[in-house]
Amino acid sequence: MAKRIDVENLSIFYGSFKAVEDVSMTIEPRSVTAFIGSSGCGKSTVLRTLNRMHEVVPGGRVEGKVLLDGTDLYGSSVDPVGVRRTVGMVFQRPNPFPTMTIYENVAAGLRLNGVKNKKRLDETVERSLRGANLWNEVKDRLDKPGAGLSGGQQQRLCIARAIAVEPQVLLMDEPCSALDPISTLAVEDLITELKPKYTIVIVTHNMQQAARVSDRTAFFNLSAQGKPGNLIEIDDTTKIFNNPTEKATEDYISGRFG
């Protein structure tokens, strides 16, 4: 079910500005890959190209290839809407739909794509909420607004919403940066539980978090302000944190800059 991602010579642009240059990497299935690096180095931008959300921004375009089990996401016959159903995403700030109940939020992905079968929706909602470790907290108030939950619960609701459409890959853009430590722990535990079923890519500013949850870590950096960001190295998380190949990675990890 989980799929492997190969990024080949990917450059990403905002209009004429090149934000990220020449990234090549392999993201393994059934594992967690963390993107780390200082602000503005393009981690989130790279993440957003993996489900074609980058092009939602006016002027956003890419060069190069992103292969999902060998199929180029940017191939001319590929529908971006289909890509986004296969590659799900969780955002930095919890963003449940404010007009919808908890149930409707989780069911949104299916419903808005035309699924009306009540039994199937019920099953999916329960399975997704259980999958997101939220079922026990909300099972008695599924008809209450999703925006009424706490920040941590909202974020897990968003994860439930994302996994309800059964994606192959789950992208997470700093999913814990707006959460308190307890909620962060809950989300991190959840990531570990989801790992056997999905390919997970997480952007984080928190290096302890990267060390805790990820199997592999990619370090991005900016050679200078106004220059495009680069992938410095990607390797096993233990190697990156204990014995990185590149000097820049070591400097960043040990807090000498950034």
């Binding site: 959300m53 739909f97 404010p98 007009t99 925006a147 009424g148 459409v165």
Partner: protein
């Protein structure tokens, strides 16, 4: 001035005038600043009362002259058919229905056009075409109502040779209502956080469906409020009615033939006989009815806005 004196005393206090001179930590506000504050206060209150007085005056005038007629059920159920200007009685039913009908048709035509234009401008519009559309809406906002009325007159009566009927009035009101709906809907759509659009797109929901199922419901109450406020505004318009909607004392529900009364034209008709007490009272009663109608629409707009507000 007494405060300044206290401050001086404090500075000369034996405790602080020791070996080293120390300034007090805080001083009182200087006299000059207090005077300015007072002047500003007086000016603001005077301006406020000045602005309020005509409003209160109008309301008092309208209610005291026109309130009497509104108390009678005949006012709400009868037209002016067969009532000569000298006679007491008669009602505004024909005019109320005319105003409501024309307002309804105006809304039915301008809401879809206005809302879809706003959706285009906020969700899709990029580049030259969007700028041109936005510019046109700005121009339309500035068109005086009589110009809109004359435009429809030139089209409807001069070019096509049709009669002056209710729907022609509605068409000219549409020209006035579209820009207000576009602008208010645009503001409401811009208030919808981009994160919600992205959340929906990231679930693999197509863009049109995202707009229809996530963006519009989130902005719904604001859009409805804007529509009702826009409607309240055009229902009080008079120039298009004078040009395109000849008055009649009879009831007419047909927007496509015959004269159709409205509250503004009823006021204008009775105004010719202002010296006669019965007509005089009817002028003010019709004015009060129009004010109440618009007030109700405004209230409805605000209530819907509050009830439909997104719960956090």
């Amino acid at each position: 001035m007494s405060h300044t004196a206290t401050a001086t005393t404090a500075a000369n206090d034996p405790d602080s005038s020791g070996a080293r001179h120390r300034d007090p930590l805080f001083t009182t506000a200087s006299g000059g600043r207090k005077t300015k504050d007072l002047i500003a206060k007086v000016v603001m209150w005077a301006a406020f009362l000045l602005a309020l007085s005509p409003l209160v005056w109008i309301l008092w005038q309208v209610i005291s002259f026109g309130g009497q007629n509104l108390m009678q059920s005949e006012w709400w159920t009868h037209s002016m058919r067969g009532i000569t200007t000298r006679r007491e009685g008669g009602g505004a039913y024909h005019a109320i229905m005319g105003t409501l009908l024309q307002g309804l048709v105006t809304g039915l035509i301008s809401v879809p056009i206005g809302v879809f234009t706003a959706i285009y401008l906020v969700e899709y519009g990029r580049g030259r075409l969007a700028r041109a559309v936005s510019f046109m809406v700005d121009i339309l906002t500035g068109v005086p109502s009589i110009v809109a009325a004359l435009f429809i007159y030139a089209l409807w009566v001069t070019t096509f040779g049709w009669n002056r009927v209710g729907v022609a009035v509605s068409l000219s009101l549409v020209l006035l209502m579209i820009p207000t709906i576009v602008r208010s809907t645009e503001e409401m759509l811009k208030l919808v956080p981009n994160e919600l659009r992205e959340a929906s797109l990231a679930l693999g929901v197509p863009k049109w469906k995202t707009i229809a199922s996530v963006v519009l419901p989130t902005a719904f109450s604001g859009i409805v409020t804007g529509v009702l406020l826009g409607l309240a505004r055009v229902m009080g318009e008079t120039a298009p009615l004078l040009i395109l909607g000849p008055y009649t004392k009879n009831i007419n529900f047909d927007l496509f033939s015959g004269n159709m009364a409205t509250l503004p034209t009823m006021i204008n008709d009775e105004r010719q006989y202002l010296a006669l007490p019965a007509a005089h009272d009817r002028v003010w009663a019709a004015a009060l009815t129009l004010i109440l109608l618009i007030l109700l629409l405004n209230l409805a707009g605000r209530l819907i806005g509050r009830a439909g507000a997104v719960k956090a």
